[in-house]
Symmetry: C2
Subunit: 329 residues, 2 copies
């Protein structure tokens, strides 16, 4: 590891949903994470999301040595050179758009570059991964994707239902992402993705970020070798240019936040049969500081240097570059 910093691979994480503060940002820098899609809305509506973005502006303003709010690939590459962490503001829901497709442009102007279409339940845009029924992409959802394509915002399908995902891949003029999920052949879980969705995504130039969140990983006992072999096998299956990492790190939250993620405001907490608790993370990856372990593991799993660089960051940057300029109709 004696290579100069400029030769080291750039590391970009497809998604983290931490309770962000300086200490958490330092964990990313210590782990060599140069860029990250940081969730700033899950259930929030338009007005609440404005506040969350205001919080990010304040945090970035207070820590200019450590973090930069990035809107372009160039800013992420520059952050690596500067020893800073580049943060892309992202949504895990289309709830910030409310019922108005024009809010896509509003939030793009404010710096948001990634938006997942649905979070766990059916919404105005489409169906989600836990829904017993999935409406498919709705008519409104089609206009939302048109706008995201136009302004240059990445469509994320991670918590989206399979039918809506297939519809969105077909509808989008730009390639799309699954920022944080695994194939169902690795773990059969509603949050993971069947082969037909992953293959359709890859065929249109998209990228899937393999995910370390314990519930979609198989729990804390899953080994680093098992995870990295899965990444390597997926790269063999769909091509190394379509595979990346989306850790789904959840640092610094109290247990209450799990309840918020699970129940939002859509059901009485008493109606949820599962008690909200954070799952235990594996010992070899407990947070953003453990990213170097992934690099080692991927090489051990047989990825060559070039593929490893793609998976660690270059695939996300290639995809961001293709999306962020926008598509003229």
């Amino acid at each position: 590891m004696g290579a100069p910093a400029s030769d080291r691979p750039i590391v970009v994480d497809g998604l983290q949903i931490n309770n962000w503060d300086r200490a958490v940002l330092e964990q990313l820098r210590n782990g060599g994470v140069h860029g990250v899609n940081a969730t700033c809305a899950v259930w929030e509506g338009p007005a609440e999301t404005l506040r969350a973005i205001g919080d990010w502006y304040a945090l970035a303003g207070e820590n200019p040595d450590l973090v930069v709010l990035a809107e372009t690939v160039e800013e992420i590459r520059r952050a690596k050179d500067d020893g800073r962490v580049a943060v892309l503001l992202g949504f895990q829901n289309s709830s910030p758009f409310g019922d108005d497709y024009r809010m896509v442009e509003v939030f793009h102007r404010l710096g948001v570059r990634v938006a997942q279409l649905t979070y766990n339940i059916q919404n105005l845009v489409g169906g989600a991964c836990y829904d017993p029924e999935d409406s498919g992409l709705t008519r409104f959802g089609g206009y939302v994707i048109d706008e995201m394509n136009r302004v240059g915002m990445l469509v994320d399908l991670s918590h989206v239902g399979n039918r809506t995902s297939r519809d969105a891949i077909e509808k989008s003029a730009a390639p799309v992402a699954i920022t944080h999920a695994n194939p169902t052949w690795f773990l059969d879980h509603p949050r993971n993705k069947p082969a037909e969705v992953i293959r359709a995504l890859a065929a249109r130039g998209g990228v899937i970020g393999c995910c370390l969140y314990p519930n979609v990983l198989g729990g804390e006992t899953t080994t680093r070798a098992e995870f990295c072999r899965m990444v390597a096998a997926l790269a063999g299956e769909i091509g190394p240019e379509h595979v990346a990492i989306g850790s789904d790190c959840t640092c610094n939250w109290s247990p209450d936040f799990v309840g918020w993620l699970r129940n939002g405001r859509w059901r009485p907490p008493s109606a949820n049969p599962v008690r909200p608790e954070w799952p235990k993370w594996p010992s070899w990856f407990s947070g953003p500081a453990d990213f170097p372990a992934i690099t080692e593991g991927l090489l051990e799993a047989g990825l060559d240097e070039a593929a490893m660089k793609l998976v660690l960051g270059e695939n996300w940057l290639r995809l961001f570059g293709e999306v962020f300029d926008g598509v003229t109709a």
Copy 2:
């Protein structure tokens, strides 16, 4: 018609969506309409709906001789005796509840007594009548209906998709309404209702308000006799205790409002192939002042005095009475 006022049938309209002011309220009084479900939200979210309700409080406060905001059956009956119009605040969408089932109780406290689950497009609660796909009642939608049952708010299925309608009829512990639509056997239109939905509604004690809006009536050339024969035939089919009137009067609006109803904020107006225009109403029913013509027509169509009273108002009052007290789980 020399009977004393107290013997005349009480007239309750299942839905009007006027641009309300004193002149419009006078039309209702002149037409002998004693109670009406008045739409105060179509696409509005929670905060916008608070303003619309505030507007109603102001209008009622300025015209105490003419209108009363009613929350009970007793207040509607009293309005007839007082020569005033009783207004029930109603929604044509669940958008005022946002993503929070607890907003049902909030708006109930503010006086809202009727809420349609969806308006024309898929939302968080379910699918709508114009959707190519209907998710059915969602999990969130189930909790919304539980709350509506509990606090005593009438579920309206008028613009709701057929699948979601069937689910809602089954889910609701209280009988439900179609406040303004006709049977598809009268006019095959997405806004009208197939026999299986109407029969399921009636079997659970619900009421359908036959609708005079030209697009679901067959246009301005449909005659009063045709409309009234339809009402009489439907009463024969499902029982006169399940049939009522929901005129869908749209007084005092500019053409812009049709564009708002059609497109909301969910699509660019340019994407709507149909130019928004108000349809022409039939000469025999151009607004709330023409309600006496319906009474005459129903008798001509063969309804007896008892059935006519049910259809003109008593069925709505019976249903309101069953719903408004709420259901204890």
